[in-house]
Assembly symmetry: C2
Homo-oligomer: 315 residues x 2
Amino acid sequence: MFRKEIKVLDCTVRDGGLMNKWQFSKNFVKKVYDTCVEAGVDYMEIGYISSEDQFPRDQYGPWKFCAEEELREIVGDNNTNTKLSVMADIGRIKFDDIRPKSESVVDLFRVACYDYQIDKAIELAHHVMDKGYEATINLMAVSKVAERSLNEVLEDVAKSRVGTFYLVDSFGSLYSEDIHGLMDKYTKALPGKTIGFHGHNNQQLAFANTIECIIKGANMLDATMLGIGRGAGNCPMELLISFLKNPKYKLKPILRIIQEEMIPLQKQIDWGYFMPYMITGSQNDHPRSAMAWMDSDQKDDYVAYYESVMHGKDI
Amino acid sequence: MFRKEIKVLDCTVRDGGLMNKWQFSKNFVKKVYDTCVEAGVDYMEIGYISSEDQFPRDQYGPWKFCAEEELREIVGDNNTNTKLSVMADIGRIKFDDIRPKSESVVDLFRVACYDYQIDKAIELAHHVMDKGYEATINLMAVSKVAERSLNEVLEDVAKSRVGTFYLVDSFGSLYSEDIHGLMDKYTKALPGKTIGFHGHNNQQLAFANTIECIIKGANMLDATMLGIGRGAGNCPMELLISFLKNPKYKLKPILRIIQEEMIPLQKQIDWGYFMPYMITGSQNDHPRSAMAWMDSDQKDDYVAYYESVMHGKDI
């Protein structure tokens, strides 16, 4: 698949950080950055941008804050073809704490929101655009959003100045027919805008769903090294780069960081295909109960987990 | 997804045996059988059927031969709703060594063949049908078969009495658009016949491709417990059963064997998503070089493997 409009965004540090409170070493983050640059990845999302009073620094690593000076320790002035992205949660970053683009190495703000937050999300996206940044809106948990509410969201986004809107499979619960239906809906409602896709791998469908989104016209694609991310993780970068035929992408640097960093890291952090995550995905549930189970002494008792979430139903 | 015509076939022992020369304990095979029965799985494929002079017994376990008395040690007379299947490779089983169905607990012979073996495959399938068995033909490695040859195969199968023909993604290289094209071709060429699907998981697409086959009308679906199988393995049974809504299928017994048998087994046998298998899948290659690499001292050096298979190309 070669389509020059396609952009790949690495969110290894940002989504992977959900598993370790963003306590990655600077050496690791630098290696992810160097890999993205060498592999031709278009954007690297280095973390969440948050105001300092939102989270305690002694519990959360630097990539939960994305302070300008800490970003520059990794990327310098970032004179590369890989743009730098940060994710903003509604209410976690004060407008006054966002400096003008001319004073920042960040290129892109991605605003994550639930359907009921869409007005706040558009306000924040417009604000960062006015300060000189690119912006996207990433509507989370769409698999739980009722039709009328989703229509309202799309109408609001259509009227906004925000150029990119993301289909997000937060629970890893969407099948290809869901993807096709939502992509049809999004592209019809948002003419002229770019559609992005962010998948989760609970049912081993993150890469497959990314391909379906490409077929249906999505041009901004999230992936992570060896699929690291919350719970079951995301679309594996190595699969996506192997699939895309654009000559600017290179697989070898990605294989290198996988063998040198990701495989050892997987021995410390249990992301990936585990039965509790598979079960929440197939049930279209938030993975929080599965993550709690994976942190407990019973983590390997899948039958007990299944019984607990099915509440005595016939299984 | 509920469609009453859909049948699920477990090939845990048969395809998984490619990783350990079928040296599973009788206790393990019995547990797989009990799980299939309890979970409502329609067929269990217990191994390859081979004449005794084809392979040395001191190197291969019983499930490479499927001698009647050894099958009965596991399943007795198999008075259950789960039918018993064996796979036959062309030239590995003498016709005279196949007893009449009235003397066997086997229900189904699946004949695996390459395109150039189709006449022999049809001859063998007709032979076992005449002896009272069900039969399928499983055309391997279709991703490497040229169009004219595939058309000939389909014409021959169409004229035969064989009722079920399998789409087999031997290398785990097929994408959804390949699946759609092949399913269109198979169903058009084989009116009235059942189409089956057997996937491999090199690119984490085995389950996704199974769903695409279901959408396109396939009604016989292969899967294995925790996806065990050659190299990257097959479509995970737990995902397929979670997806199918037919009330006869139960997930809980599958989760039980996964936690009690498959997770410990995975510490001994390296099936699953490893970079060498991912690379052969994305290159549409046989996994043999990846399997050799995974057996070598260099197994964790993915960059070296990639360089070796790309033969100095720009990567």
